[in-house]
């Protein structure tokens, strides 16, 4: 695990900042580790820090009073999270962050981040770019949740996740539901329906995508 200064230099998001700005940021970074499943911060609590992921993956989600969960983002190596609340007047975390795997992060306390941004227009631009990407991501999520049916969202999810990476991760139906803004039963029904229509094949622990054209057409619905 590299030290904070070394990590900043390797991280594309901050690698192009002037060296003195990088040095000042690294002096303010506090390393923290979380085990898989551990909560990093809770929605509604005071936003005390922004975080950079140095190792592992973080899941950011909101939960309804009825316990229904919507995943807002999955944050990986070199990505920032919880920056937005720190710039809000009430500075409350607007979601809950949980370690999806064992995670190491660098925390930057709110007061330190605000001071650093005031002193460095280059860092302010980095944060703005990150905000823009976040806004873009959330706009796409709103489109998915409001304009696509659950079948459409599920078809798109299957197409995206069958392509990603060389090592497959596993998804429970509950996790798929949290990603797609619905509940587990609905996912189960949609999967059975896809299987009966020949779009996919359920092969024990494998969801085998059979009909690309059919799934692509479904993903537009």
């Amino acid at each position: 695990m590299p030290d904070a200064a070394d990590f900043i230099r390797r991280m594309p998001l901050l690698a192009n900042l002037p060296k003195d700005v990088q040095a000042r940021i690294s002096r303010r970074m506090i390393r923290r580790s979380y085990s898989a499943g551990e909560t990093i911060f809770i929605e509604g609590d005071p936003g005390r820090a922004a975080y950079l992921v140095a190792e592992g993956r973080v899941r950011v989600h909101r939960t309804s009073r009825a316990g229904r969960e919507q995943v807002l983002a999955r944050i990986g190596l070199g990505q920032l999270f919880n920056t937005v609340p720190l710039f809000r007047h009430d500075a409350r975390n607007h979601a809950t962050a949980q370690a999806a795997t064992d995670v190491t992060v660098y925390a930057i306390l709110r007061e330190d981040l605000l001071r650093l941004v005031q002193d460095s227009p280059e860092l302010a631009l980095v944060i703005l770019r990150d905000f823009a990407e976040r806004l873009d991501h959330l706009t796409n999520l709103v489109e998915d949740l409001s304009l696509r049916t659950v079948r459409g969202r599920l078809a798109r999810f299957l197409l995206v996740h069958a392509k990603e990476g060389t090592v497959r991760r596993q998804w429970t139906q509950e996790e798929m539901a949290s990603e797609l803004g619905t509940v587990r039963d609905v996912i189960g029904r949609a999967l059975r329906s896809f299987a009966s229509e020949g779009l996919i094949r359920m092969d024990r622990h494998r969801i085998v995508l059979v009909d690309r054209e059919g799934l692509e057409s479904e993903s537009d619905s």
Binding site: R168, R169, W171, R204
Partner: protein, 83 residues
């Protein structure tokens, strides 16, 4: 190997209530000394009923998403229980 994958049981969260043993339509689960275990893994059909009804959320039936004919790493191998 694909036929041998069984649901993952988190024995730390499990309270040994026995619901999974009672509901398994294939009678593939028994209550062992440490908690539920698959006595007949090949009989398990991965129907996900145990996951659905476990009151502690201690059972996970994970799925990998693959294309027909995909033989890449991970397409067959699960993280959870393997018999």
């Amino acid at each position: 190997m694909a036929g041998c994958v069984v649901p993952y049981i988190d024995l730390e969260s499990c309270t040994r209530c026995g619901v999974c043993v009672d509901v398994c339509p294939a009678e593939a689960v028994v209550m062992g000394l440490a908690g539920p275990e698959f006595s007949d893994p090949e009989a398990c059909t991965y129907c996900t009923l145990c996951e659905t009804l476990c009151p502690e959320g201690a059972i996970a039936c994970g799925f990998v998403i693959v294309w027909e004919g995909d033989s890449r790493r991970g397409a067959d191998g699960p993280e959870g229980g393997v018999c």
